[in-house]
Amino acid sequence: MKLDSILIVGATSAIAEATARELIGTCRAFVLAARNRERLDAVASDLRSRGADAVFTLDYDAQRDVERDVVADAERLLGTVPDAVLIAHAVLPRHEDVVCDAKYARSVLDINTVSVLVLCTHVCRHFEWRGSGMLAVISSVAADRGRRRNFLYAASKAALDVYLDGLRLRWMATSPALRVLTIKPGYVRTPMTAHLENMPLAAQPQRVGRTIARLLRRGDCGRRYIPWWWRLVMGVVRRLPDRVLVSVQQ
């Protein structure tokens, strides 16, 4: 699959940053979209210094610019619709703060779910019009089962999984050049998870980024757990009865 250009939404997230670095030899042009201008510039100049040919930046606030067509913006910068789109933005709230706070919960859902799904429809339109493209979205292993301390976040990600499953089937039926990749990382040591005290089996963002870059290069299609053994772990967690899970819960 062609991977000359990529649009990365949420480019200042640690995983997206690590992925972009790994793609430098592969992708010629990067369009980075994120909210914080200063950080966005830092990531962009890092990619340029490391040898990326063309790096563009876009200001994008998932809460404010929900319906904005970022893909069209990227198209204006690149002159063509990007070959791949990686959606990486998300927030992980402190669950105790969010569980009874409607306004906060709404903002989490707006960022993690609504903005991502709306963005996916834009991607869908552009890719289907062209007849090719790769959409990769960072979900989470948490989406596989709601747990006591993160079910709002889990629900916000589970919606992505379900949406992408359906989109994948739609595209599989139309053209092999249209791909959907659902990326499901386990715990990763990033700024998003910095407030979590207990992170069993945590991975480094560099490792996750390397894997995502490999999957993108390969044009992979499907749900992918990173590291792969989270598939086994979540397979078990999904099947545990509630009564057991409540006692081993963390």
Partner: protein
């Protein structure tokens, strides 16, 4: 969280580890008490152990700017030197000063003002630092040799006590390719080492002496002299960090084994007088194995001491005699001549003379022997490297580094390391 040094000595301390992800923030605002910037934790002693909180700077590893024409790179302080080389070598540039491992951050290299095989022409790392931004508890400072010159000189070799380096601008030197031509020249006495060494330093860019002390009374070894040569510019993926590799239950080093290993190494290298090696093989040979785990759970000491040029032969010979006398296993011994280029930092380690570095498994006999050697070195006006020390007394440190009080005055009071606590605890004045 338990935080340990590379050698496991002094014993690991339990403290908070807070990651720093963006240099735009002032970490002092969010953390109570003292902190210590920490990179990859490759220091051999307690200079990398915090008193309260460790600020882990490795996520700040962005390269901000790389001038491919003039050879200047500006990076955040958490970038490792290996990572920088992977960017600069394909463009035909290298860092002039490289230590024995690629897992060293720019911040750590500045804080310890590290040196390398190129000291005879390049001096220390700090000489190639053009400027840097320092985050202190009261604000940010842009430091160059002219602006905030006092902070500049205090931070280079300042053991991380003057604040957090946000980014630094480094000057590079041309490298023809990623490949190096190496000469391996055996020597069988100290006199030969000095004679061949000074000859090689005139022609080769990187010179170091590997030394076999396993036979009491005999000093032999190989001088490795390398220079960049023609070839391709392909770099290699980073070597594993082995951060979570388990330790052997006890040290694998015994004197007969070392004698055997050294004989094999000496023979194989003398069979190969010239070789063409990738730069990673020349600079970072020990990165391929979890070297520190081979010394068992009790850890090991490294002693690196420099003997001033006017008495270098007698001084090094005396240190070797002490080591033989103690009958301790010495799996690694490295000799390196330092040139007369002055180091820019107040507490920089290198002085004109010859340095000896030995790795020693942790035993009571080793501690006693190293203790006497350190006392000797202090007496004759030599120095022990703070980045590799776990045994110096406060009195010895203050004698070797008379500028320590200057640093103590300039340092940020919210920065503290176990090392600084140890070597400044009681002044003998």
């Amino acid at each position: 969280m338990s935080i340990r040094s590379w050698t496991g000595l002094p014993p690991a301390v339990s403290s908070h580890a807070v990651p720093l992800h963006w240099t735009g923030e002032n970490p002092f605002d969010g953390i109570a008490g003292t902190l210590l910037a920490r990179g990859c934790g490759r220091s051999y002693g307690d200079v990398c152990l915090p008193c309260e909180t460790a600020l882990v700077c490795t996520p700040c590893d962005r390269i901000r700017w790389f001038d491919r024409e003039r050879g200047i790179v500006r990076t955040e302080a958490g970038a490792t030197l290996g990572d920088i080389l992977r960017t600069t070598i394909p463009a035909g540039w290298t860092l002039p000063v490289l230590p024995g491992t690629e897992h060293v951050t720019v911040g750590g290299a500045i804080a310890n003002d590290i040196h390398g095989k190129s000291h005879h022409w390049a001096g220390t790392f700090g000489r190639w630092v053009e400027r840097f931004e320092l985050i202190r508890s009261d604000g940010r400072y842009l430091c160059t040799p002219n602006d905030n010159a006092e902070l500049f000189a205090a931070t280079i070799g300042g053991l991380g006590l003057t604040g957090i380096v946000a980014w630094a601008e480094l000057r590079l030197v041309p490298a023809r390719s990623a490949w190096m031509a190496t000469q391996n020249i055996p020597f069988s006495s100290l006199d030969e080492f000095f004679e061949i060494g000074s000859r090689l330093e005139r022609s080769a860019e990187y010179v170091v002496g590997w030394c076999d002390l396993s036979e009491p009374g005999s000093i032999r070894g190989i001088l490795h002299a390398s220079s960049f040569c023609e070839g391709d510019r392909r770099t290699r993926t980073p070597s594993p960090r082995f951060d979570r590799a388990p330790s052997l239950p006890f040290s694998m080093w015994s004197r007969p084994l070392i004698r055997l290993a050294n004989a094999a190494r000496h023979w194989s290298r003398s069979q190969r007088p010239t070789a063409r090696e990738h730069y990673t093989q020349v600079f970072f040979p020990l990165d391929r194995i979890p070297w520190n785990r081979l010394f068992g759970r009790r850890g090991f000491y490294q002693l690196q001491a420099v003997v001033p040029a006017r008495i270098e032969r007698e001084g090094i010979a005396e240190i070797c005699r002490r080591l033989w006398h103690a009958r301790i296993p010495l799996p690694l011994c490295v000799l390196k001549r330092f040139g007369s280029i002055a180091s820019p930092g107040w507490l920089s380690f290198p002085i004109a003379g010859t340095s000896i570095a030995v790795d020693v498994p942790n035993t009571s006999r080793a501690r006693a022997a190293l203790g006497t050697i350190i006392a000797d070195v202090a007496r004759i006006g030599g120095r022990v490297y703070p980045a590799k020390d776990a045994l110096m007394t406060a009195e010895q440190f203050q004698r070797m580094y008379p500028d320590w009080q200057r640093l103590d005055r300039v340092r940020d009071l919210r920065c503290c390391s176990q090392f600084w606590k140890r070597v400044t605890q009681r002044t003998s004045q």
